[in-house]
């Protein structure tokens, strides 16, 4: 018999909704309970993403898996309540964008009883909300798993959760929270912040020009992320401040280094290093 019969998805947005849709497509026959705002629940039930909307207090005690897909700081605030409500054999996991703050808090709260394993599916698309949730979102994505202790424990519930991730097409990678956060500072947070900085600097420099006439596709690509709204990012930035600041300083230093190299006509090595990184990405 399957150990997981009921799943709580807390935060039924793009990620939580996509997890629910992917789970249903795997043939999961149990119930999926959604915890979100009334408007989101109305949308999510009408789209068939969750079976019904509940409060945390109603949903968690019935569930063997609690999937927290809210913003990082809301996850942190709700962990204690979830811990208190959860079944002794349940798995509580999350999909927050940074891991150190969440996993540190979970290490304090979880002991014997329900297990906590941090998670981060490296998947996304433009836009937000359950309306664009997608059963294919996790296909081919790396899924970071971050244990509170030395490694992810083995329980029947955890084994089933991990089998689901496999069947959704995720590449699971166990790692420490600080490693995760240092890497995403580069692979996720720098692309956003450098796009924002480039767009802000261009805006400042071209203030006198009413229309930006001489823009090509390169500029459009490099400023696409700058359209992101600050409220999506505020919590990520607050919970990964030191790695992000270190990386920003390194990028600024790299730019200054390139500026000096240009003066000497020695910028070729910079292009070659950029190409090497790009090839490593393209190979995957």
């Amino acid at each position: 018999m399957e150990p997981i019969k009921t799943v709580t998805v807390a935060g039924v947005g793009l990620i939580g909704g996509s997890f629910a849709l992917a789970l249903r497509r795997l043939g999961f026959g149990g119930r999926i309970l959604g915890v979100s705002s009334p408007r989101t629940i109305a949308e999510a039930t009408s789209l068939g993403v969750v079976d019904e909307g509940c409060t945390l207090a109603e949903a968690v005690p019935q569930s063997q898996l609690v999937y927290m897909a809210q913003p990082v700081e809301r996850i942190v605030r709700q962990l204690e309540t979830v811990r208190r409500l959860a079944q002794p054999s349940a798995l509580v996991t999350d999909a927050g964008s940074t891991k150190s703050v969440i996993v540190t808090k979970a290490s304090e709260l979880f002991g014997d009883g329900p297990h906590f394993v941090g998670g981060h599916p490296m998947a996304g698309k433009e836009g937000r909300g359950v309306a664009i949730a997608d059963a294919d979102l996790f296909e081919g994505a790396t899924y970071a798993l971050v244990p509170t202790g030395d490694s992810v424990p083995s329980t029947p519930v955890i084994a089933q959760f991990r089998e689901w991730l496999d069947r959704m097409g995720c590449r699971q990678r166990e790692m420490r929270a600080d490693h995760h956060d240092a890497v995403v500072a580069w692979t996720s947070h720098m692309p956003q912040l450098i796009s924002t900085s480039l767009a802000a600097a261009i805006g400042r420099a071209l203030e006198g020009i009413g229309e930006i006439e001489l823009a090509g596709s390169g500029l459009r690509d490099m400023t696409r992320l700058a359209a992101s709204s600050h409220d999506v990012w505020a919590g990520i930035l607050r919970t990964n401040l030191v790695p992000i600041q270190t990386a920003l300083t390194a990028v600024a230093a790299e730019i200054e280094d390139l500026r000096q190299a240009l003066e000497r006509g020695e910028e070729k090595g910079h292009f070659e290093r950029g190409q090497r990184l790009r090839r490593r990405l393209a190979v995957r």
Copy 2:
């Protein structure tokens, strides 16, 4: 009777080839002569992009329009030869990526006799060479026209060339060379150099990691330009050094400013400025 009967396209690559294809599609019934390497000419004639391959010395004296679509520094080197060979009523124009060096040189060489007007179609796509030339490439693109004097002269040949640009779907904008170069330092050269710098910095930071596991679509977008080869860029960088260095310094300062704002929790304004620039681009 049409004033232009024969066109020389010097440098039959993506831009020169696309100009020739677009011209043919407008119904131009005259001859299009290509000046390029034997291999490129073989490819260009088999694709029907040009009627035949010639040397500069054969092609220019027969042509009322000479369209120079080579790298910037090659254009500069060949200007004197082209000036000497050109018909007195001919228009010599170019499609080089920077304008100050070319237009300054042309101002010295051209006087009475053939006219020179600098040009820069803000169009492109990934890849190089006549094989990907495209009759639609200029559709909707801004086309900078940079006179050697105060404004673009009016001659029958120049009027016909400008009518062609209109019919190809270009938005013509007359501007000074220094203005052009200062703007493209931001709109074209910064996207490339910031992508290169970001990729190089990431490569350096993640050196110890064999595979970049936690990369999403944002990273891929932001490093796409970093795949560009240095030899495409070397001449552009050499001929626009000061505006590029000024812009690089400003971007690095913007990044440092953001780093400090993050520490105070005051980064929202940076996001808002980035969003504003992005909206200005998206509206177009």
